[in-house]
Amino acid sequence: MLPKSFRIWPFMAGRFILRHRRKTIATASFIILGTAILVFLHALTIGINDTMVLNTTRLHYGDLFLEFPEHSEHSESIAAAIWSERDIAAVLFRRKLSGLLMTPSAAAPVVLFGVHPKTESAYTAIARRIIAGTYPEDNRSQILLGKTVAEKLKATVGGVVTMVESSGALLGEYTVSGIYQTEIQHFDTMIVYAPLSTIAPSICARNPAEAAILLTSSASLQAVKAHLEKRLPRGASLQTWKQLMPDLIQLIEMNEVAMGILMLFIFILVGFGISNSFVLTIVERFREFGILKALGVTPRELVGLVFLESFMVCLCATLVGLAAGWLLSQLVAYGGIDFSGLTSHNRYFIVSGLVRPRVTLASIYWPGILSLAASIVSSYFPTRIAAGKVTSETLRFA
């Protein structure tokens, strides 16, 4: 049971907060601004990471990359079955053939992916990187070349190229339907796409099958992986984009550290602002505290009273700041910020430079905790000074 006198302190604190309205608003504004900036910056970091992941996974490999065991007969039907599972947005089945692409005047080693053009062009970003022509059409002997391959072969849209498998078998002649450019060297110099329907079943059977699995939400990555692994044939390999692209993980971690440092600086800056505001408010009220002490308020009660005042202001301002930060992030996310102009030739922004800030639990949790902690620490020391001063000295403040 709390002592009777203790129960009136929140009431007293509330009364003082309301009566010192201007100072309360000034202090609260600092906290609201600081918290909102921290939330937005955190959401922006998440948004940048999301864009980088999306750009990478949507280009070719997907969120999960499935490699079927060699000579697997039912790989395409398994891929089709996976598509009907929960949280799966698409399963892009492919055959991978290595070989030589030739024109009468030149030859280039390539990796040809036999794909289903409709789904492939709908779900991956390669189609959006076409700089000339179109994506190959189903059941037609058409091929999509990377820009460097096309340059090596001196091939243009409408030209004809011949594909020879690495075993020496002739795959066939293809008309160049389009040329793409990702500015990722590996793709532009090596990867070509042709309709799977144009590759003979016997050739398909002796070449590896794989599937890029796209999820509806990145949050379910591990759960979907665990679920699918139970259902895959022996020898199949299922890897997440995190396993396939450790360099992206490192980049995300670096991005988070860099943003963390920036947030820390902002936190310190805002902390100083809050502290300054509290010090000014408390020093101005020294005489008021002196009167309270003269009336019999104990030093501990005085610390408690001012602390409670600060806490109530900080808590309300932090909550408003969190809401403001969330709202700002939502507003910016609605239109997105286009980083394309700032990230030329960055492979992680190759498909789209549009960043949409995303608020997560951590975006609310950390800024909330930091802001509250900064505010409370900032208010504690001047209050201690006020409480520790000899009462008669405090009363001399006019």
Binding site: M12, F16, R19, K293, L295, G296, V390
Partner: protein
Amino acid sequence: MKPAVSLKQVSKVFITGGIRVKAVTAISLSIQEGAFWIVAGPSGSGKTTLLNLIGGLDRATEGEIQVGDLRLSTMTERDLALYRRHRIGFIFQGNNLIPTLTAFENIEIPLILIGDSDRKTKVNDILREIGLRDKAHMFPQFLSAGEQQRVAVARAVVHSPHLVLADEPTANLDMQTGSDILLLLQRLNQKLKRTVLFSTHDQRIIDTGENVLRLRDGRLDL
């Protein structure tokens, strides 16, 4: 009659800018319960220091202060605060009231601190007594200097303290308002039978007093 306040060889030394200043030197006195004493002396004679020592706002450098059964020198800061809360009523020279609270709320504070559940009635009663019932919800800045001091007097006596310490409460007031405050305190002293120490350097007020304690250069002027 038992003394309400007793001082034995009380001295107070302040160190200001590295210089020792003796504000009060070897004061011994005894004040009876329910008495009204005027502490007289020119500025700098030690009146405020003496009242602060008796009120537990400062600690004596030497000597012993006893208020009722309490020896102030042995008490902790917390005990001194509780002593002020329950036994003392303070009135200062000026800027007495908390500017962010109304007249009513200022008077209410001592009752809140002692956990008095009947505080609304008591505050209203005393506001009526000092003639400020209609200004109960006004902030100090909208009250005249005299009205502010009347509120301060009400706040000092509302929780029925044993001892009221009024440190030059009339210093910033005109003669008439000062007299009104003095009369108000004398009336409350007679009605409530509380001990009052009233400091002033105003000779006209000093002349009205029966019990006068004169100070000069920090010593009792006998």
